[in-house]
């Protein structure tokens, strides 16, 4: 039987962030995934490291710390994952929309997010190809981007260098507990691992792992499409999105929603996200979503009408009932820690989530009050 301080289930960006930070803290970590590394939602994301779309204070605090943690990790292990502080631009073409953006910006500003309102002339400097009918916007220098699969892969590479292990294609079959019901081990399709701590970082599948451990957790999939264009010379310099996007993320309506989030990548392709539909794990392509994304993107950047769609990503973003991530110890099973439900913000907020969990497991102070993220809020325990 193997022994580990912590078993992290899930080799996506959230699991690999947890594993990295725990391994760096001196813990012996084994990462277990039933598939390959970054094979789930991580492999179908844009790599958003956004502070600009956060509204609720705990979310803002997590996003700001995570954003800085991303750059600190790059300093420590090397930036092999295309991390860049490109900045974001949030725009609206209606007075009401802009008023909403200004209000949000001043709220965010009060909680440590840098926001700059820019006029048309400045906007043209930042994004020369933007539609001239857009006359004002909020610039967020703090928004960043990375290549999420490479990030997870390089985090896990560091984990291995720190004597940790990564078990791919290994299914978790069950958990061993002592007579108090605390976790003592993880039974896997490979072999059993003796451990006191388990991190459930399985994203959209986190509910299954919770059930397997004798608890429950409500994490659901939200389908998103991202269009990838043929490679082009650098046309778009920031992460550019219209204000409706923020409204959509917080929405509870199941039908298709979309608003353009447009950005360039290091490989020259341009990504156009993000549609959102709550229809379970249905991987078929929704033409209406693609059409709408294309239309919205062209309306912000008319130059895009000349580019071609090359690929479509589709991913299932994990969301919780209140759209906040679930980070912390299970209310019913001691030793089981959840780190899931990050929805579309999982790439961006993974390192901060990993820091919170590491501190909780080590019994150290957390960088913020993590109460709003604790799983007990859904587990019928006050």
């Amino acid at each position: 039987m193997k022994t580990a301080d912590v078993v992290v289930i899930g080799a996506g960006v959230v699991g690999s962030s947890c594993a990295l930070i725990m391994a760096e803290a001196g813990l012996k970590v084994i990462v277990v995934d039933r598939g390959p590394i970054a094979g789930g939602t991580t492999g179908a994301g844009e790599g958003n490291i956004m502070v600009s779309d956060k509204e609720i204070v705990p979310e803002i605090e997590l996003a700001v710390r995570s954003r800085n943690a991303w750059f600190e990790i790059a300093d420590r292990i090397g930036n092999n994952f295309e991390l860049q502080a490109k900045g974001g631009i949030a725009l609206s073409r209606t007075d009401a929309g802009m008023a909403g953006l200004r209000k949000l910006a001043s709220h965010q500003n009060a909680h440590g997010i840098e926001t700059i309102e820019v006029d048309g002339a400045r906007l043209r400097e930042l994004e020369p190809h933007m539609n001239p009918d857009i006359e004002t916007a909020i610039h967020y220098p703090g928004d960043g981007q990375c290549q999420p699969m490479l990030s997870a892969a390089y985090f896990l590479r560091t984990v291995r260098h720190l004597k940790g292990e990564v078990w791919q294609r290994t299914e978790v079959l069950g958990f061993s507990k002592d007579k108090d019901g605390s976790i003592t081990g993880v039974r896997t399709s490979k072999e059993e691992i003796s451990t006191r701590y388990v991190v459930n970082a399985t994203g959209t599948w986190a509910g299954d792992i919770a059930r397997l451990a004798g608890s429950e957790l409500s994490i659901m999939p939200r389908r998103g499409f991202i269009l990838v264009t043929t490679p082009a010379p650098k046309l778009i310099h920031h992460k550019v999105y219209d204000a409706d996007y923020v409204a959509n993320v917080a929405s509870d309506s199941p039908e298709l929603q979309s608003s353009a989030v447009v950005e360039g990548t290091e490989s020259g392709t341009i990504l156009i996200g993000a549609s959102r539909e709550r229809i379970g794990f249905d991987s078929r392509i929704n033409m209406a979503a693609l059409e709408r994304l294309a239309k919205q993107a062209i309306s912000v950047f008319p130059v895009l009408s000349k580019l071609e769609l090359l690929r479509v990503y589709r991913g299932f973003r994990p969301y919780s009932p209140d759209h906040l991530p679930v980070i912390g110890e299970d209310a019913k099973v001691k030793g089981l820690f959840h780190c899931a439900g990050h929805e579309g913000a999982g790439i961006g907020t993974a390192p901060g989530s990993g820091e919170l969990l590491t501190a909780m497991i080590l019994g150290k102070p957390t960088f913020m009050d993590a109460t709003p993220f604790l799983p007990k809020r859904f587990q019928g325990v006050a």
Binding site: P36, A38, G43, A153, T230, P231, I285, A294, S305, L310
Partner: protein
């Protein structure tokens, strides 16, 4: 019932269209090429063939004569779907078509193997070289080597000679005895064809060397010389056999990969061919796939050449006519006399060829760390090794996504299969059947203008 959609206007698509028309039905042929004929009968605006043109002209004439057959050439399908018995294809002109019957006649593309310098200007696939000759008559070089494996190298070399190119040699990596006999085993036509190629090549004093391969191409900005060597039965270079030759272009061909992109989007069941492990559409005796109303013919059901494509196309066309209620099954039998046995005979022969002209694993020893595997994204062998051995990629998909190998403009059409084989070898387990199927998973079959896409909803 709406008119049958035929995706691909090569031999199988044309022959199916003719059968449907003969049964009084209608069909629309969509092809990305500007003219009918596919790869085999690719031609300049004014069609002229050195041989086997009669069959093309006969099919074309009959297609043109039937008002029910529309040919939409120069049009790409960028997406296809199948739901509740209805197939839909979206075209890059912004329109879409639906029908209860669709024929996948999408043919095949060249299978490529990389070697140091294969990405230099002047290096082409055998099929690519021939396509240029057929479409424009342009010369790809003055002194050319033709190399690889398979009977297709002969017609390519012969057409180069006929176009006035100096062919320095035909290098067949497999050692094949009695090449002519092999080709002749099928029928008189093949025998005549082979004899004709040999006559052209021998008149031009083109050496044909068995068990040889191009293992490297060199040059400053374009090909100036090639390194050729004798290879053993596993394609590993035999020590002491290396030769360097000046040349200004090469055409290399390693057989073909069926184009399953559209078939995959339609959700049909596929088989992995037992001989060359290519992914092919699973069809029944009537060329119908696992999806009702979706038929497949030609290379998409397994590489077999023009005669098999024509036969399968006819079988599919007649079966579609029956399914649409245009003719009775009795009438279909009358129209199908001899087709099934013909198909079996040619298929048997095609499979024999696939066995003889197999790609052997030793080709990977020609690679060096800097050899580009994915030309679109310029990914090297070293980078692919790195994502497997350093980053822990343990399957084809992850290795692709982490290295960007096969993620470029061609969407892995050129390198997909070869990269799967390389990654499988690095991981230590050959690519699984499902991983090979995954190579053909391209929900966006061809790039589509964002403006066209945006206008779809209107």
């Amino acid at each position: 019932m709406s008119r049958t959609i035929i995706v691909g206007g090569g031999p199988s698509g044309m022959s199916a269209a003719v059968e449907i028309a003969r049964a009084g039905g209608d069909a629309i042929i969509i092809d990305s090429n500007p003219r009918l004929g596919g790869q085999y009968w690719r031609h300049a605006p004014v069609a002229k063939f050195s041989h086997d043109g009669e069959r093309f002209f006969a099919l074309q004439e009959e297609i043109n004569r039937h008002p029910g057959i529309e040919v939409r050439a120069g049009t790409q399908v960028w997406r296809a779907s199948y739901q509740e018995g209805v197939a839909t294809v979206w075209l890059n002109d912004g329109t879409s078509l639906t029908s209860e019957t669709l024929l996948v006649a999408t043919g095949a593309y060249d299978r490529s193997l990389p070697f140091p310098g294969w990405d230099l200007p002047g290096s082409m696939t055998a099929g690519g070289a021939q396509a240029i000759l057929k479409a424009s008559g342009a010369l790809l070089g003055r002194a050319v080597f033709v190399a690889g494996t398979g009977p297709f190298l002969l017609p390519v070399a012969a057409s180069l000679v006929e176009a006035g190119v100096k062919v320095l040699g035909v290098l067949e990596a497999n050692r094949v005895n009695g090449w002519v006999n092999h080709l002749g085993a099928i029928d008189l036509r093949k025998m005549k064809d082979a004899a004709r190629y040999f006559k052209i090549l021998s008149a031009a004093k083109v050496p044909i060397r068995m068990g040889y391969a191009i293992i490297e191409a060199r040059g400053d900005g374009r090909i100036e010389e090639v390194v050729i060597a004798k290879v053993d039965r596993n394609f590993t270079v035999k020590p002491g056999t290396v030769e360097v030759h000046k040349c200004d272009a090469i055409a290399t061909g390693w057989g073909f990969t069926p184009d399953l992109t559209i078939a995959h989007s339609l959700g049909v069941s596929t088989d992995v061919h037992p001989i060359d492990r290519s992914v092919v559409v699973h069809v029944d005796a009537f060329q119908e796939s696992s999806q009702h109303g979706i038929f497949a013919a030609g290379e998409s059901t397994g590489v077999g050449g023009v005669d098999l494509a024509l036969t399968e196309g006819r079988v599919a066309g007649i079966a579609i006519a029956v399914q649409r209620g245009l003719i009775s099954t009795v009438e279909a039998k009358n129209r199908s006399v001899g087709l099934a046995s013909e198909r079996t005979k040619i298929r048997k022969f095609a499979d024999a060829l696939l066995s003889v002209y197999k790609i052997r694993e030793g080709w990977r020893s020609w690679l060096n760390p800097e050899t580009i595997l994915c030309r679109c994204e310029e990914v090297t062998f070293k980078q692919v090794r790195n994502v497997v051995h350093d980053l822990g990629a343990s399957d084809v998909r992850t290795a692709k996504l982490l290295s960007r190998c096969g993620m470029g403009m061609c969407q892995g059409r050129v390198c997909g299969r070869m990269v799967a084989d390389v990654i499988g070898a690095e991981i230590g387990t050959p690519a699984t059947d499902d991983e090979l199927r995954g190579i053909h998973n391209r929900p966006i079959a061809n790039p589509i203008s964002l403006q066209t896409l945006a206008d779809q909803g209107q």
